[in-house]
C-alpha cells in the first residue's frame, strides 16, 4: 500500500514532487489568494520569519529565555529538544496562538518579512492566516465533509470563491498534501471518517487552502504510525518549495530527514528554555559544537 502511495504522487501530473516542477506551480498562487500580496518577489519561497530575543511567561513562570532564530524561506527548520523545553510554546508564539492562554505573556519580536506580527495595528486573524499551523492531534472539523474541511479556512477568513474555483482549490490542496488520490471519490464524506494519517494530511491541505507563507507543525507525526509518518514527511519535502516550514519534533531521525536547519532547545533545571545550539541540520547532526546537543541527539538523555 505504501509503495503504491508514494509512486502515486510521482506520476500524478498536478502535484509538485520536486523543486523543478514546483516553480511551475507557483505563478498561479497569487490569483488564488489575491488577499495579501507578498512583500517579496513573486518567485519567493514562502516568507522569512525571524524571532528576535523572544521570551515567554505563563503567569510568573518564565518558560523561554531570549530565543533568536531565523527561519528562511524555502527551508524546513526543525525545533528539537526534550519535553518541557519550550519548543511548542515558541512555535505558538510564532503565529500568536500563545496569547490565547489567559496568563501568557511574551517579550521580543517576531518578524514576518520584516514586519513585527505583535506590533500594534497588526490584525491577529491576518497574521494567523499567513502563518498556518498543523497540530499534534489531527483536528479536522467533524461536522464538515472532506472538501468542506479544505475550504473551511476560506469561510473563516471571509474569502468567497466561485464553485469551480473552490473545486479546483480543493483538488490542488489535497494533491499538495498527498491525499487527493485516496479521497477524490468520497469528498462529501465527513472528515472524521478518514484514518489518523489521512486526517493529518487533510489538516495540512486545510492549512494550505488559505495560502499561508509559513506553516508551523507541532509534532505532526507523533500520533501516527510509521507509514503515515513517511507520507507526511514526503509532503513536507514537497511543500518547502512554496512555504517556509517550522516543525517541532521529538524524533531525531525525522529532524535529520526533513529539515535543512535545526535548533536545539533545552531547559536546564530551574531555568527557562533557551536555544543551546542552532545550525544547519548536517552540522548539527554531524559535528555538534555543544556537548549537550551531542548527548541529546545521540539519545544519552531526554
Amino acid at each position: 500500500m505504501h509503495s503504491n502511495e508514494s509512486s502515486g504522487t510521482a506520476d500524478d501530473p498536478s502535484p509538485a514532487p520536486a523543486a523543478g516542477t514546483a516553480t511551475a506551480v507557483l505563478p498561479e498562487v497569487p490569483d488564488v489568494t489575491a488577499v495579501q500580496p507578498k512583500a517579496e518577489a513573486p518567485d519567493a519561497l514562502g516568507a522569512k520569519l525571524e524571532a528576535d530575543r523572544v521570551s515567554a511567561w505563563f503567569g510568573d513562570h518564565k518558560v523561554l529565555e531570549r530565543v533568536s532564530l531565523t527561519m528562511e524561506p524555502g527551508s524546513v527548520t526543525a525545533l528539537i529538544g526534550p519535553s518541557g523545553c519550550g519548543k511548542s510554546t515558541f512555535l505558538r508564539i510564532l503565529n500568536r496562538m500563545h496569547e490565547l492562554v489567559p496568563s501568557a505573556a511574551l517579550a521580543g519580536e517576531v518578524r514576518l518579512d520584516g514586519t513585527d506580527i505583535y506590533a500594534p495595528g497588526q490584525r491577529v486573524t491576518e497574521t494567523r492566516r499567513r502563518i498556518g499551523m498543523v497540530f499534534q492531534k489531527p483536528n479536522p472539523f467533524p461536522a464538515m465533509s472532506i472538501d468542506e474541511n479544505v475550504t473551511a479556512g476560506l469561510k473563516l477568513t471571509g474569502g468567497r470563491r466561485r464553485r469551480d474555483e473552490r473545486q479546483e482549490l480543493v483538488e490542488r490542496c489535497l494533491t499538495k498534501a498527498g491525499l487527493w488520490r485516496e479521497v477524490k471519490d468520497r469528498l462529501s464524506q465527513p472528515g472524521s471518517s478518514l484514518s489518523g494519517g489521512q486526517q493529518q494530511r487533510l489538516c495540512i491541505a486545510r492549512s494550505l487552502a488559505v495560502q499561508p507563507d509559513v506553516l508551523l507543525m507541532d509534532e505532526p507525526c507523533s500520533a501516527l504510525d510509521p507509514t503515515s509518518t513517511r507520507r507526511i514527511e514526503e509532503t513536507i519535502a514537497e511543500l518547502r518549495n512554496e512555504v517556509t516550514i517550522v516543525i517541532v519534533t521529538h524524533n531525531m531521525q525525522q529532524a535529520a530527514r526533513v529539515s535543512q536547519y535545526c535548533a536545539f532547545f533545552l531547559a536546564e533545571e530551574g531555568s527557562p528554555g533557551s536555544v543551546v545550539e542552532q545550525a544547519d541540520t548536517e552540522t548539527m547532526f554531524g559535528s555538534p559544537s555543544d556537548p549537550r546537543t551531542s548527548d541529546y541527539i545521540h539519545g544519552r538523555f531526554g
Binding site: M97, R128, M133, N139, P140, A152, L156
Partner: protein, 340 residues
Amino acid sequence: MTNAKPVGTATVDVDTPRAIDPGLPVADRVFRGGARAVGLLVLAIMASIGVFMFSESGIAFDEFGWSFFTEHRWALETNQLGVLSLLVGTVTVAAVAIAIAVPFALTTALFITEYAPLRARRTLIALVDLMAAVPSVVYGLVGLILFQPYLADIARWIHDFFGWIAILDVPGADPDTTNWNNTAHQYTSSAFIAGVAVALMVMPVCAAVMREVFSQAPAGEREAALALGGTRWGVIRSVVLPFGRSGIVGGTMLGLGRALGETIAIALIIVPAFDVKLRILENGTITIASQIILRFGESSPLQLSALMFAGLVLFVFTLIVNTIAAAVVSRSRSGAATEI
C-alpha cells in the same frame, strides 16, 4: 458459555466461545445493586404517578369519553368539561415563552463561553443561575405588575404593524385609538404576557444547558479554526454551534418542559378564556396547569376528576416532548453532555 472445559483439556481444537467469569468485585456488585435499585425506583415513581392520575381520572373518562379532547368549554354549571382549549393555551404560552427565551439563552450562553473575560464569566454564570433560583410566583408578580403595562403597549404596536398575521390579530381592538385607557385591557392578561413571564424563568435553564455544552467544544477544533485566521465568530460558526447542536435542542426542550408545566405565574397573569384560539395578543387564555390551580379548591368530584384527566394529558404530553428531544440529542456528538 455452555462448554466450560475442565482445566487441562485446553481449548486447542474447540473453536467455540469460552465461558469467561466476569469476576465482578464485591464493591462493584454492591454499587451496581444500589444504582440499579435507585434507577428502578425512579421508574416506579413515574409509573405510579401515571397510574394514580389514570385511576383518578376514571370518573371523568366514564362521563365524557373521548369527547373530553374535543370539548373546549369548561362550563361548571352544565358540567360540559373538555381539555381542548386548555391544551391549546398551554402550547401557545409555552411556544411564546420558548420563542422569546431561546434566542436570549443562546446569545447569553455564547457570550459567557466565547466572549466574556474570565472574571466576568464567573459572575455572569452565577447571575444567570440565580435567575433560575427565583421562585416562579415572583416572576408572575413581576410580569403582572411591572411588565404588563409596557407589554400591553408593545402588544398594541405589534398588532398595529403585524395584525394582518392571524395569530397577532386582536379582533375588536383598534390599535390606533386615541382613547388608549379604554383599549389597554384588550391587550392585557394575554398568552403573550404570560409567555414573557415564563420566558424569564425558562431562559436561565436553557442558558445553563447550552453554556455547559458550548464550553465542552473540543479545544483542538477551536484552535484549528483560530489558526486558519478565524475570528471568534468564525469559531462559533464552524466549531461551537455544530458541536453544541444537541445542547441547543436539549436546553430548548428542558425549557419547554418547564414552560408546559408552569402554573402560578401564568395563573396570576391570565384571565381564563376557554375559546380555542392562537391569537396570542388578545386578552384571556388558559393552560392546563393554571386551570388546575384555579379550580382545584372548589370542584365537584366529577370536576376534580376532569382536572386529573387534564393533568394526565399534560403528563403524557410532556413525556412525549422529552422523549423526542432525548432521541434528537442522543444522535449527536455532544449528546452525552446533556441530560434532559
